[in-house]
């Protein structure tokens, strides 16, 4: 579904991605784990068009994403929940969700999807008219995920959904991620919480300083000695 081949991305003179290749197949949850600064966020930002890569190929459902602007990538069916949630703080929960469906032209389907988001996250329904900036961190994360679902994506990119959240809320969010996947959306999940991520995903990639250093099924990565040492606390 998504094939990344030898992608190099620069931040000014700094090479943040040094030739990354990975693949996400239809229906999977694939996780990308690694330390701070390994380039996980940069890879997601490159896929969704926020940063232009310098080399390599990115194909999604056979289409070349390499030089597409972000708005066309969203329209092609890839939604990105950015690091730090990035909800629109001065807008209401409902308005944030409406913006998620900005590119769509089917009002009936949009209403349906909004109901679906409210079923997934009942807390959001309670706070429909509240400004997003006044929500708690967990609620903002729910809103950021709900907003991305409003684009009715076939591939969902999630960047650190557990960041800064209490363990109970992380459980809840990962439960919803599994539900979203079960309903047919493919997921590429970037996480620092490697344990949670590998327990949820089918397959995983390990990233270090701009390169993929390991890839395997999530089960085997969980048992891998090097991974246990580096990312799972021994």
């Amino acid at each position: 579904m998504l094939v990344i081949d030898g992608v190099v991305t620069h931040y000014g003179p700094i090479e943040a991605l040094k030739g990354v290749s990975l693949e996400v197949r239809q229906g999977e949850i694939v996780t990308l784990i690694g330390a701070n600064g390994a380039g996980k966020t940069t890879l997601l930002r490159t896929i969704s068009g926020l940063i232009r890569p310098t080399h390599g190929r990115i194909t999604y459902e056979g289409r070349d994403l390499f030089s597409m602007p972000p708005e066309q990538i969203v329209a092609a069916g890839v939604a990105h929940v950015p690091e730090g949630r990035r909800v629109f703080p001065l807008m209401s929960v409902a308005e944030n969700l409406e913006l998620g469906a900005f590119a769509r032209r089917d009002p009936a389907g949009v209403r349906e999807d909004m109901e679906r988001v409210f079923r997934l996250f009942p807390r959001l329904a309670e706070r429909k008219t509240q400004a997003a900036g006044t929500l708690s961190g967990g609620e903002q994360q729910m809103l950021a995920i709900g907003r991305a679902l409003m684009a009715r994506p076939r591939l969902l990119l999630l960047d650190e959904p557990s960041m800064g959240l209490a363990p109970v809320i992380v459980e809840n969010i990962f439960q919803v991620i599994r539900e979203i996947n079960a309903a047919g959306t493919t997921i590429l999940l970037v996480e620092q919480n490697a344990h949670m991520a590998l327990a949820t995903a089918h397959r995983g990639y390990v990233m270090e300083t701009g390169r993929i250093v390991l890839s395997d099924s999530a089960d085997r990565l969980l048992k891998n000695e090097a991974v246990r040492k580096a990312y799972l606390g021994g």
């Binding site: 969704s48 068009g49 926020l50 602007p69 972000p70 708005e71 969203v74 329209a75 939604a79 990105h80 950015p82 730090g84 949630r85 990035r86 909800v87 629109f88 703080p89 001065l90 807008m91 308005e95 409406e98 913006l99 998620g100 900005f102 590119a103 900036g133 961190g137 903002q140 907003r147 991305a148 684009a151």
Partner: protein, 325 residues
Amino acid sequence: MGRAAPLSFVCAVAHLAGAYFSSRNRLRGQGGGGRLIWQQLINGLVTGSTYALIALGYTMVYGVLQLINFAHGEIYMAGAFAGLLLVTAAELPFLAALVLAMVIAACVGVVVEFVAYRPLRRSSRLAVLISAIGMSIFLQNLGLWIFGPSTRSFLPPFPVVSFEIGGLRTNTLHLLTLAVALAMMVGLQFLVARTKMGKAMRAVAQDREAAALMGISVNRTIAFTFAIGSALAAAAGVMVGMLFNAVTPTMGIMPGLKGFVAAVLGGIGHIPGAMLGGLVLGMIEVLGVALLSSQWRDAIAFAILILVLLYRPSGLLGKPAPEKV
């Protein structure tokens, strides 16, 4: 300071000024100074409404780009010339000329953004600011080259009737200016709050990258913002051209700066703030002129700018910048 503070401030100044005039006039044995001050306030309201229209363009562009578009005064000038030529040379009816002048200015605004700002999207804010000042000077000189330096008369293409309401003199041109400004503000409020493009503008203003991830074309939204702001400036230019019966290539400099002051006074980036800032600035100016003398008009405006920047940089309605989480 609460929401009501600006209004009570204006009322207090008006009251003091009224008292000053009545006492002065009592010495002359005339009375009716209170009326004079209200007369001045009507004039201030008319001027202030044009400042507000200009300020809206500054504040909207600042909202989406964090840029002070210093070429905005020149777009106002271009709008005034377009209106003048459409009324005199093309002999269009007034409303058609006004709308067409707004469309022309919108195009100028979009071209300015495309040529002077878009190539610098990833450059430092200083570079963009310098480009803005350069664009302003370029457009002034382009105006001088095309239209020459002399002042052109802009007589309203409709009869201007003076009349009194409650002892205060006004005329149809004043009322039309207020009506145009009010219509624009109501229209803008609707556009920003209810339409899809308005939502895109707000999204880009709050978080440009997140807006792009929603499928919003950021470049198109920024161009649209320039178009709307420029159209409002053109409306102000046409009305002021007729109010002063004068259109010149340099007419945009001072109103451009005043519009900027009004935008800062109201809270830069804040749309209702720009409307309020324009009206308050217009009123304070006329009151200052009444109390001191007309030479002080511009000094008063810039003193306000300095005071706001020193003591309340977020403006009358703006909130102090929220911390990013």
